[in-house]
Amino acid sequence: MNATYFPPVSMLAELTHRCPLQCPYCSNPLELLKANREHDTQTWLRLFDEAADLGVLQVHLSGGEPTLRPDLEEMVARLASRGVYTNLITAGVLIAEGRIRALAEAGLDHVQLSIQGARPETTQRISNYRGAHEKKLETARLVRAAGLPLTINAPIHRHNIDQVGEFIELALSLDAERLEIANVQYSGWALLNRNALMPSREAVDRQTEIVEAARERLRGIMNIDYVTPDYFAIYPKPCMGGWARDAFMVAPDGTVLPCHAAQTIPWLSFERFGDRSLREIWNDSPAFNAFRGTDWMQQPCRSCERREIDWGGCRCQAMAIAGDAAATDPACVKSPLHARMAQLVEEALATAGSDSANTTFVYRRIAPVREPV
């Protein structure tokens, strides 16, 4: 399979798994890497150079909390010198004074700031970090004061879905030009906490009405990206725009992955930058080729007229729910397992009970390292 693939346009760099927040839906894997497993500065810089050579135009600097890396300015400067668009994805709670301005001066193009609730008590409870909300609002002000454009990312679930209208007002008051109303995707930590996080269909429908009305009202003022919840969908999302089609991500130790949750597919093995070049991994890695294009598809995807619209949906969701990573994403109405999604919602709501305040979460934490035997 050494055919001419399209080069990747974007890359998500998870510089570290360390994070002061403990959100129970974190997209990092359950087995988080400690600081001593992170690639050093020079290796990241070489990786960014190879990414630019390969055709990457946009790099999302993420984590964990990427500002915990003291070499972040150096990375931004290198990417900027190659004309690569840089987007910082931050929790915005531990950023040292002057850092935002220094990043802007290094050439940073855009900041995406997560806010867990539109109300301080919600942000604090979900992130399990005291005073998180106030710190985030201060970070938003510093971002705008440094002349950087701001996106607010609001991950949505049962405990804040009724705050969507407040999120919109909050984002406007922070002078954000984009707001992501991003319903939680149930993989990794979110899958572990699914029963504690799943919203009801009524709440999802109300949310959709509020978002659609706000988009109309705020045309030309603030863009609202609405990431709809898969468990209430008719068609699946084209996850990552199609497996290994135009984007990839890199874990803190340099493992190159087609998506966040790819390591939940047990029979795939992934390669590390450093052991092989980025170009070799993108073009030839068996894991990247496993679900590329449409040849791997089963029915009903194989003969579906939407096969090059949603690319079979999410492989990791197929793995998690159908037990087969090559199956149709059960979010799709054509999947034989589609009804299971509604059942899982019912089960979650039955388990949860009606009192939001009594819900307990498995917070995201770095577990003690398992030593190899």
Binding site: P7, V9, S10, L54, G55, L57, Q58, G83, Y85, N87, D109, H110, Q112, G147, L148, P149, T151, L172, S173, D175, E177, R178, L218, R219, G220, I221, M222, N223, D225
Partner: protein
């Protein structure tokens, strides 16, 4: 809603520019012009590029239409509505500042 939040409207007097954080750059790998913006990349076609390249903050929409009419050997009136509609759409997507 705060006073600073107003939808901008394009007119022939507007002098549109690309915001500081929106970059139009040539991609040597794909041999095509890319417009880089927060979280999204656009691949404008030749007609779009002819307009976007003239969005320098100093040229009015009227002057852009005039220049394009000369270049395409077309009537200004034929082009005007399309150019204004294009710039309004890009302004609404916050990719052009009028």
């Amino acid at each position: 809603m705060l006073a600073m939040h107003q939808r901008n409207t394009i007119s022939v007097q507007s002098m549109p520019s690309l915001p500081h954080h929106v970059h139009l750059r040539f991609d040597p790998v794909r041999e095509a012009w890319a417009l880089l913006s927060p979280e999204r990349i656009y691949w404008p076609n030749d007609a779009s590029l002819d307009i976007l390249r003239r969005c320098d903050g100093k040229t009015t929409v009227g002057a852009i239409i005039e220049a394009l009419a000369l270049e395409y050997d077309a009537e200004e009136e034929e082009l005007a509505a399309d150019v204004i509609a294009f710039l309004q759409e890009w302004t609404d997507n916050l990719l052009v500042t009028p």
